[in-house]
């Protein structure tokens, strides 16, 4: 019975145009997302820096050093005068112009004001040229510039997770979040459809509510799994083909962790979505009842950015990594950022599995008590009661 129900879900959903199109779009998005940065960085053009007046050798040295600091390749182009240089700057031939000892000219004032250009090529140029001017006034110091002027930075510990790993973690988390909320709402909508069309009474005359529920989440879950597999395959294939740093080494471990938590997260949430869907009699009410179900996921997802872009997750997020409702999103992030060792991942996965069993019990109870009741939305407190006060 359960497999018949699951088979119907697979068949009727899997062959819809929406499913085909969304699969293609998602796979393409993943492939592009992985391959594009790699392709772009390989073909990155060197920046052209115009210099006006002064000693060409000195200015070339400053420009090259600035390029090294900003992480770009630099071509120095001597210009006869400021007017010509500005004209070529406007036309886009040059990215930045260094006017001997006086100023750095760019096409647009940087966002946040002229002095906030640190970290970019114009910023590095401005700082180095300023230092060079200082050296010129302090006899004997000029030679130091030739050996590089930035102080070396020494870290006490190795980075907890490389940026590439963190980005892979982010990709995984987006996937978990999108799949659970998209397929979760499909479950709720599907149950809303069965209730609003009243087909559920015919179904339940030969199938038990639990069979109907499990069949539905199984069928939709298999579709979600198929789509996930396609996306992960696209991620790996496109990553290797484009030589992206995202797929190397530890990243595979992150993808595996993500895969485990996608399955766990779906298992935890699918019955919750089903219970939410069973509370309403009209499909249009489904969105309002599934929102509370999504709140933990939204929280974990929104806060994941604070972990991806910083060293060392805060305690609060670490706790989220062990709570079953938030673990499917939080734990892959913590693992990818190097903030959680493998044993913590395993503990979190076990807790999540236990939580899933608990959730399945509660949700199945709500579903069984609510699925045949029509009319106004059923208050959750009533749906949780063993013997609901029925009226008709």
């Amino acid at each position: 019975m359960t497999w018949l129900v699951a088979g119907r879900e697979l068949l009727t959903r899997g062959r819809t145009r929406v499913f085909a199109i969304s699969t293609v779009v998602l796979v393409l998005a993943v492939a592009l997302g992985v391959a594009l940065p790699a392709i772009l960085s390989r073909n990155a053009k060197p920046e052209r820096v115009g210099i006006v007046g002064g000693s060409t050798a000195t200015l070339t040295g400053i420009a090259t050093e600035a390029g090294r600091l900003a992480g770009v390749q630099v071509i120095v182009v001597p210009e006869p005068d400021v007017a010509t240089a500005e004209a070529r700057l406007r036309s886009g031939d040059l990215s930045v112009v260094l006017v001997n000892g006086r100023e750095v000219v760019v096409k647009q004032v940087p966002i946040g004001g002229a002095s906030s250009a640190g970290g970019t090529l114009p910023g590095a140029l401005a700082q180095l040229a300023g230092l060079a001017k200082l050296f010129a006034e302090v006899p004997g110091a000029a030679a130091a510039a030739a050996n590089g002027i930035a102080l070396p930075v020494r870290g006490l510990e190795p980075p907890s997770g490389s940026l590439a790993n963190r980005l892979t973690g982010l990709f995984t988390v987006v996937l978990v979040w999108v799949l659970i909320s998209v397929y979760g709402s499909q479950i709720a909508m599907g149950i809303g459809e069965e209730k609003s069309s009243r087909v559920v009474e015919v179904l339940l005359s030969s199938v038990r509510p639990v069979q109907l529920l499990i069949g539905k989440v199984l069928g939709i879950g298999l579709l979600a799994l198929a789509q996930t597999a396609a996306m992960v395959a696209a991620f790996i294939v496109a990553g290797f083909a484009a030589g992206s740093s995202l797929v190397h080494g530890a990243a595979i471990g992150i993808v595996v962790t993500g895969g485990v938590f996608i399955v766990l997260g779906y298992a935890f949430y699918c019955t919750a979505y089903a219970a939410a869907g069973s509370l309403v009699s009209r499909q249009s009410d489904v969105n309002s009842v599934i929102f509370p179900v999504q709140i933990p996921l939204i929280l974990a997802y929104a806060l994941s950015y604070t972990v991806i872009y910083s060293n060392g997750a805060n305690t609060f997020y670490h706790v989220l990594g062990f709570l079953p409702p938030t673990a499917p999103v939080a734990m892959p992030v913590l693992y990818a950022a190097g903030d959680a060792p493998v044993w913590q991942v395993v503990v979190s996965a076990v807790l999540c599995a236990v939580g899933t069993i608990w959730m399945a019990r509660v949700a199945t109870g709500i579903y069984t008590r609510s699925i045949l009741r029509t009319g106004a939305r059923i208050p959750l407190r009533q749906a949780l009661r063993r013997e609901p006060a029925e009226a008709r």
């Binding site: 019975m1 018949l4 119907r8 068949l11 009727t12 459809e193 069965e194 069309s197 009243r198 087909v199 559920v200 009474e201 015919v202 179904l203 339940l204 005359s205 030969s206 199938v207 038990r208 045949l372 009741r373 029509t374 009319g375 106004a376 059923i378 006060a389 029925e390 009226a391 008709r392």
Partner: protein
């Protein structure tokens, strides 16, 4: 008795839907379950399929309490019709056949058979929500029949049907019963289903036969008043002067004819069947309409603001 309902009780809040309902349905018969809205017909039928719970009582099929396995040999058409709106007709009927334990190939063949039998041939690939209301009703019936059920339970199968549809439906019910299927259906439109539930109705009517007699020139049936209580009692006098006499048990109808002849030229003399609705009034003391209005008022009081 194939299907036995024994002492069914069900209360919804302050409304009593079932109060010790007991009856049996014999095999191979079209058994009409008649009564006004609110009489508990739907609750009873839903209880047979386990989709409504009972406070007390037992439902037995062939002597054993109804279980899941037995239910898969039943066919059901609920009061609130429902199919998957976006699913294709053939697939849908086939799906329900398989939910009733039919193997895939047999399910498809049976689905095709019933779609054709119910006049839906050519619409196999149509989505349910593109079918007309009448055709959706037929699809619903196909779903109830496709697995060749041993018990067919239809809740208000005639509601919303045009006269042609009523004929088709009653034809199919009779045919199924003739094939040995036990058929239980409900209706609150007593007059509409009179022909179909023959045995029950005749049982009630048989108690006291009714005579309709008209004497020329006598518009208020004065002649009949002379007949004593040992013959029968006057139920009503129609505007054309026809007197309806409910015969006393064992009374001789020829003595009434003699009385009428003595009064004048007898234009009309015949035994007349009672309408089911009249039987209902006789038994309950109220018309179907009155009973329904009363129930509606009670229900509105007890469920104000609650769910249906």
């Amino acid at each position: 008795m194939e299907l036995e309902l024994d002492g069914l009780h069900r209360r919804y809040g302050t409304v009593t839907a079932l109060d010790g309902l007991t009856f049996g349905v014999p095999a191979g018969q079209v058994f009409g379950f008649l009564g006004p809205n609110g009489a508990g017909k739907t609750t009873t039928m839903r209880a047979i399929f386990g989709v409504a719970s009972l406070d007390a009582g037992e439902i037995r099929w062939r002597g054993k309490p109804v279980d899941e396995r037995a239910r898969r040999t039943f066919g059901y058409m609920p009061e609130e019709r429902g199919l998957y709106p976006s699913m294709r007709l053939l697939e849908q009927v086939e799906y329900f056949a398989r939910l009733h334990d039919m193997p895939a190939s047999a399910a498809r063949a049976a689905a095709r058979h019933w779609i054709g039998r119910l006049g839906l041939a050519g619409r196999e690939d149509a989505r349910i929500d593109t079918l007309s209301h009448g055709n959706q009703q037929r699809a619903q019936l196909a779903v109830a029949l496709v697995h060749d059920p041993e018990l067919l339970v239809l809740d208000e199968p005639f509601s919303g049907l045009d006269p042609g549809g009523v004929d088709d439906m009653s034809g199919i019910l009779a045919e199924r019963a003739a094939a040995g299927v036990t058929v239980l259906f409900s209706s609150h439109q007593l007059d509409l289903v009179e022909d179909i539930c023959g045995p029950v109705a005749d049982l009630e009517r048989g108690e006291r036969p009714r005579l309709a007699v008209r004497v020329a020139g006598d518009a208020d049936g004065a002649w009949a008043r002379e007949a004593g209580a040992d013959l029968g009692e006057i139920e009503a006098v129609r505007p054309d002067g026809t007197v309806l006499i409910s015969l006393t048990k064992g009374a001789d109808s020829q003595r009434i004819l003699d009385l009428a002849r003595a009064a004048g030229l007898v234009e009309h003399f015949t035994f007349e069947a009672r309408r089911l609705s009249e039987v209902f009034r006789q038994v309950t003391g109220a018309s179907v309409g009155q009973a329904e209005a009363e129930h509606a008022a009670k229900t509105a009081l007890s469920t104000a603001g609650a769910t249906r």
